[in-house]
Symmetry: C3
Subunit: 394 residues, 3 copies
């Protein structure tokens, strides 16, 4: 579990590299700054309020709070005995909490103002995410409805994905993204770093899914790692094949997003699937990615890193797949999954809309046109990401 | 074991970074694409056929097959009890399988056509590697001959290295590598990434060798980590000293390849050596690297990343070293090691020759001169690795 | 423990990336070379003499030596039984030993001669570090005085930090660092890599502090991970807030150094603190960083990566904090901590002064002005870090 916590922590590096790799050089520091902010502030907030909002003990199923801080309940440590300690539990869940905001960070990159984004992070990670989480993992009403989400296709990925969708819609697209209604490619500045990011994320998923077994029971844990890896592989291969057929081009970015889609897709039922199920779920996720990226473009939504396709759409797919494949398949389970998806849609869309709408009407959420064109690094951070990079003479 | 699997997975990132770091910018995406293809397709193939070719149960010692897919034999899970599960075993071995093809990828970089390379990967990883592996790890005829290869100096590294040698020979050298018969340095584009790659590979070797103990027995596992690290250190230091003396230059690339040579060299006998043995084996591997790199140049073979020196030549050295140093040393063991090396030379050279020769005579294996000069990224992927990278004004 | 050793090994990658990221492109290979040298030679030296100097068994409390090499004492393995093996112990401690020199490497970057630095590393890592370490972890006189240093705020970080201070003072500042007595910013060449470095270091600290529990006792280990992460988060946030208020700028580098300061600060007492204590200690470390960086500039000391502020000053703070916060707080403990800090100041400052002073007066420790201006990569290594990096036409 502790190793898994370390791996989930490492996912934040993966997200950071994926995001900066797929975006332009002039906004690199800004993205890194946002992500470092999310990790550090997210962890402190989860310590202060989040953990006790998410795991309030006995509660009404919708909202409960066990008090501020960890120390207040540390005595509970002694009675804790599920194969991991109270502290491990806190840290593992805390690392997850920050992930939800990181997903948003990628979608709003290159045009959001830093301070309003920070305010969003504080509210969303500190309050909304743990309340939403309590509905299932805290033993709330969705848990009683038999909704199942093993490691967070919905509780983590969709929670981030819905907010990303709302934010992208309220923010508007980057300057130059749509010309005469046609989407334009805005290539990032460092595809190798994006590739590193995806492989680190895959590695982190060993911890994300592996650790969610919440014990070191080797049979289940190892099956989870196998389903996770096979879904990732299938997602990548299908996205690569589909995009090669459609666009006559070996597109590395699509391959990478297919892998992520497969990973998000298997996350809700990683412990319930056979290897064959996992391959099918991942393959469908890979196909979804190719079409979702194109659909999002058609809807005139500008998501620089593909976060909505990967985390929201594949998150929904993975959650529903628990009712279709594997040990839990069945209409009743499918209905529970659908109710869960809808419940999270409601809380995430409404809360993130309120937050971003209020921010937009007060401090504003978008940088000035000049700042966007010249880059956020120069304006918000007074520096560039590669200040001393020089070319060699050839 | 599961953690070790994660670390071996991470080695693919190390290989990718090493390869792109030591090659030119214009071929970066192509190399990343190949490596992502190898990991994903390799894992799916290993699930479909490889695992059951490599571990066929009772068989004639040369070729056996336990059937398609994992599910067919998953029942065996229940009876599995060697300190790790059936699933862990599959995933750990599957991560190894892909490694063999990654080694080839580096050697043929910057000039091989993508589709024929993919066909080679499918056949070599899907069929040849597991059949060759069954001879020893599957309990085949080399296992009965007392041939010893702890974690794959021969079964993984030489299997990749022999195919790399054949491929490099059939492909020919890159344009500009030899002028009037003299080898020319073709520097890579990102030495820091290559360095990151080597350190990640070293980290991965903790899992590669540590996990090959196939249990969490702390005494052997920890000895294996010590011998692994000391051989790496000795290999690096000797390669650095030798190259400094020979070429009057502190050559970081040679230092790094010496580390890799030491790691490959210790792999066959990591559990059989004392720390002193490990240092000697690593040191000799480091010296071998310096001379092998120069020899390969003299043979007019063009191996951009030094894969043949590191994986083939140090792989052979490490395999033979089991008969010379440590707990198993002796003439009879040395003879077994030599037979093993030769057996793998025969299967790998002949099979990879047939595959590449047929591909060469049919679809062709080499890109056009124009494509090679302009870079594979632009032609095969329609993109560049750093599309938005801009210089600062100074 | 073995996993923790792997993570501590990985910290060397973190240090390397942090250092090259914050320094200029023309010295990148040189820094990587130094760090690879430190890891490999450090490990071999620790095997040859260091381990037996640091853990000499019963000794006079100041200096003892159990003999050369590991094999001599390997029999002790059988009697070893503290939840980890003799081999694990060696490797874990060996990875720490190299860290002390890596800290110095960052501070002296961009102007130190390679060979004298290597000589310093051999003496400091091979002899001084283990002798100093024996005073506490080897059961020496400071251990008997109840001095406490859980994972090396003093024994590792200050030991590196003091030598860094001495080296920076004897070396002098880089050309152009001070103009008319005013410090000038010399921006590094790759802030993303520096950020990667810090996140890898944070990950490594899971192993550094987690492994220092020296057992897999889940209660203490998991508390240590929580205190470690909370201190890191608090350090980062406070450094970011303080620097934003002082300099009206969202400074990513300060955020990152604040995280490192928090990590160094918690290291001495990570197992003795409550989460609240950890947050306070980290927060103070974050504030210290902002002021220490400015103070070091005022003292005309040129430390390109902030190593003195992070490792020395926060190392001292963390060591003293054991006497102020947490389970051991009290005047008597504070006095022991102060004695420990002073004892290490004496041995480290005097020994590193002697080494660098002798080197300065004999072979010289500073490169020529021309070499400094043109870069160490071109002069010492005959190569550049990004030899084939090309710009795209826009």
């Amino acid at each position: 579990m502790m190793i898994c916590t370390a791996l989930v922590f490492f996912m934040h590096l993966g997200f950071s590299l994926l995001e900066i790799g797929l975006t332009r050089q002039k906004n690199t520091l800004n993205i890194l700054f946002k992500n470092i902010f999310i990790i550090t502030v997210g962890l402190l907030l989860y310590c202060l309020v989040g953990f006790n909002l998410m795991y309030p003990g006995d509660f009404n199923g919708y909202l409960g709070f066990a008090g501020f801080g960890l120390d207040a309940v540390a005595a509970a440590d002694l009675a804790y005995n599920k194969g991991y300690t109270y502290w491990t539990d806190f840290l593992f869940q805390g690392m997850f909490a920050a992930t939800a905001a990181t997903i948003v960070s990628g979608a709003v990159a290159e045009r959001i103002k830093l301070v309003p984004f920070m305010i969003f992070v504080i509210i969303y990670v500190g309050v909304i995410y743990p309340i939403a989480g309590s509905w299932k993992w805290g033993g709330g009403f969705l848990d009683k409805l038999e909704f199942y989400d093993f490691a967070g296709s919905t509780l983590v990925h969709s929670v981030g994905g819905w907010a990303a969708l709302v934010a992208v819609w309220l923010l508007g697209s980057r300057i130059g993204k749509f010309k005469n209604g046609k989407p334009q490619a805005i290539p990032g500045h460092n595809v190798p770093l994006a590739t590193v990011g995806v492989l680190i994320l895959w590695l982190g998923w060993f911890g994300f899914n592996g650790g969610s077994v919440l014990s070191a029971e080797p049979g289940v844990t190892s099956l989870v790692l196998v389903t996770t890896c096979l879904a990732a592989a299938a997602g990548g291969v299908v996205a690569f094949l589909a995009s090669t057929i459609l666009y006559k081009n070996f597109d590395l970015t699509m391959f990478l997003n297919g892998i992520l889609g497969g990973l998000v897709g298997i996350t809700a039922g990683a412990d319930q699937m056979s290897p064959t199920d996992a391959i099918i779920i991942g393959a469908i996720a890979g196909a979804i990615i190719v079409f979702a990226v194109s659909l999002i473009d058609k809807l005139k939504l500008d998501d620089p890193v593909g976060a909505i396709a990967v985390h929201l759409i594949c998150g929904i797919w993975g959650t529903l797949a628990v009712g279709i494949f594997g040990a839990m398949a069945g209409w009743s389970q499918f209905a529970s999954q659908l109710i869960g998806v809808l419940a999270y849609a409601v809380i995430c869309v409404s809360s993130s809309f309120i937050i971003f709408f209020v921010l937009k009407k007060t401090v504003g959420i978008r940088v000035s046109e000049r700042e966007e064109l010249e880059g956020l690094d120069a304006h918000e951070h007074g520096m560039s990401a590669y200040p001393d990079f020089r070319m060699n003479e050839h």
